[in-house]
């Protein structure tokens, strides 16, 4: 009799416990989380003191969380809000305070912040820190070159950074000639393509690869479009009014689709842009 009572109460408390755990889990997953960890809002020096002799592990942990967080957003095609980009930037800043020689966070920042959140200045600041500690790594200067060339449209400074990147041991040979070539080529788009090709070369993660590939594809389409616009101008001595002019004159079969869901359009200066601005538009 006693044993039965005991068993019964055991089962009851087990149910109560499971029920509570489920509720707590729901409560925690229901709310929108705008950041990877609340830690990113604390001053980095405070966090550094709090983690005692384990800043390296803390940096790894935060980095992993950041990657998972953004990975899920990419996978679910959810738009990242400006506040969330700000949190990401703070996160990278914190991680690189904890371990300034950790390369991954810089790369994450470079491949996302300037492109999707327009945080070029902030990214450059991070990269300068990287360049000062990662003396034997060419990437920080390469990234700085790209940001100045592509986003800030400042070829002078960009060239300086590319020269710095070129003299770092282990830097790709073509950097030396790239600076000169950059001036002859149509510019902007080409630098983006080179940048993305370099990034793709050293990415193993399939998700990130897809993400970069999509961007590269779009840039290649834009480059092709601009090339055809150039041909049109040569032929007709005037700029096409619409991209559909290219198809009408038989320069192209059709106008390719923007992988990001936007529409390509042409500016007065002959440059081609897209309404998506290389950020995934909500699919309807």
């Amino acid at each position: 009799m006693k044993a039965w009572g005991l068993l019964l109460s055991f089962i009851v408390v087990c149910f109560i416990s499971f029920f509570c755990v489920g509720r707590i889990y729901d409560m925690h997953t229901g709310g929108e989380k705008t950041e990877v960890s609340r830690l990113v809002y604390y001053p980095p020096s405070l966090v550094k003191a709090l983690v005692l002799e384990f800043p390296g592990v803390m940096a790894d942990y935060l980095m992993l969380n950041t990657m998972v967080w953004h990975g899920e957003k990419i996978l679910d095609k959810i738009e990242v809000k400006p506040a969330e980009w700000q949190a990401t930037y703070l996160g990278v800043k914190l991680i690189t305070e904890l371990d300034p020689r950790f390369l991954d966070p810089y790369v994450l920042a470079e491949t996302s912040l300037p492109w999707e959140a327009g945080m070029v200045e902030e990214t450059n600041e991070l990269l300068l820190k990287a360049a000062s500690v990662l003396k034997d790594n060419y990437r920080p200067y390469f990234f700085l070159w790209f940001n100045h060339y592509y986003f800030l449209k400042d070829p002078e400074t960009a060239g300086m950074y590319l020269e710095k990147a070129a003299i770092v041991p282990g830097a790709p040979q073509f950097y030396k000639t790239l600076a000169a070539r950059m001036r002859l080529q149509s510019g902007n788009i080409m630098s983006g393509i080179i940048f993305l090709q370099e990034m793709l070369k050293e990415t193993r993660d399939a998700k990130t690869k897809l993400f970069l590939q999509k961007r590269l594809d779009t840039l290649r389409i834009i480059a092709a479009l601009e090339k055809h616009v150039g041909e049109y101008i040569k032929q007709f001595n005037q700029q096409p009014e619409n991209l559909s002019d290219l198809v009408r004159e038989g320069l192209m079969e059709e106008i390719p689709r923007d992988p990001y869901g936007g529409e390509f359009y042409i500016m007065e200066n002959g440059r081609v842009y897209t309404t998506s601005n290389l950020v995934q538009l909500k699919s309807n």
Partner: protein, 270 residues
């Protein structure tokens, strides 16, 4: 006749009987395997991630000695009167303190040694799984050096534990004081940097500055013994820095042990 070595040995032997030591080994194996696997999620710094985790396990495992074994083997010794067993032999109280310290040092050296071997094994396993070019920065000598200095840090902390166990009558209080020493030791250098930097808008009173500066000299500067990041990134650790830290450690330990002996000599052991 010298009694230090027998005391060290019996302390070591007793420490070996604590099951928690074997728990640490299991924990370390688990964690190192985890480190090797998790590092694959990262793009470039695979070696760094592995070493970050493994070397942290080395430090954390070593901390078991000051936080748990030392308090048990010293405060417990006094609380439970097992110290009579040792002092009934012709062992002076100074010999007792030094012998205990050496015994604890042997335990710490054993833990750090075993966990460092695990770290090297983890790195080796990692080289078998991931492409070779991730390991160009691997520097075994830096890893060994980092572990050696981590051991020095633990010895330094041990000396303060010995002092706390001598001046307090309860192991609980000794544990608390040890924890405080550890936290202060890890952060005080950063604090001094902070108060020394003339930050705009931050006004720190001169007395506070003085107190923090004095703290830096009184408490063990444990942050100075942290070379994990250098080892993880495969940077060479400068000989000058290592020797300076080593000399500092030895001097600090000696000073603290002298205070402990002086106090302990005066103390009743009812």
């Amino acid at each position: 006749m010298n009694t230090i070595w027998p005391i060290a040995l019996i302390t070591f032997k007793e420490g070996l009987r604590y099951r928690v030591l074997y728990g640490v080994v299991v924990f370390a194996v688990f964690f190192n395997v985890f480190a090797v696997l998790i590092s694959g999620f990262f793009m470039r710094d695979i070696l760094k991630i592995t070493l970050d985790l493994c070397l942290s396990v080395v430090s954390a495992g070593g901390l078991l000695v000051p936080f748990f074994l030392a308090v048990n083997l010293l405060s417990g010794d006094i609380e439970q009167r097992t110290i009579y067993t040792i002092l009934a032999r012709p062992a002076s109280r100074a010999n007792y303190i030094i012998g205990k310290f050496i015994g604890l040092g042997l335990l710490a050296a054993m833990i750090v040694g075993v966990l460092t071997c695990f770290t090297l094994l983890a790195v080796w396993g990692s080289t078998q799984i991931y492409p070779e070019h991730f390991f160009t920065r691997l520097s075994v000598s830096s890893i060994l050096m980092s572990s050696f200095i981590a051991l020095l840090a633990i010895l330094t902390l041990n000396s303060t534990v010995v002092l706390w166990c001598c001046v307090t009558t309860s192991s609980f209080l000794a544990t608390l004081l040890t924890l405080a020493t550890y936290v202060v030791g890890q952060t005080v250098e950063d604090l001094v940097h902070f108060v020394s930097a003339q930050l705009p808008g931050v006004d720190i009173s001169p007395t506070v500055k003085k107190v923090i500066h004095v703290t830096l000299y009184i408490f063990p500067n444990l942050a100075a013994f942290d070379f994990k990041q250098q080892a993880a990134h495969g940077l060479a650790i400068s000989f000058q820095e290592v020797s300076l830290v080593t000399v500092y450690g030895f001097a600090y330990v000696t000073a603290i042990l002298i205070i402990a002996v002086l106090y302990f000599n005066k103390r009743d052991l009812p």
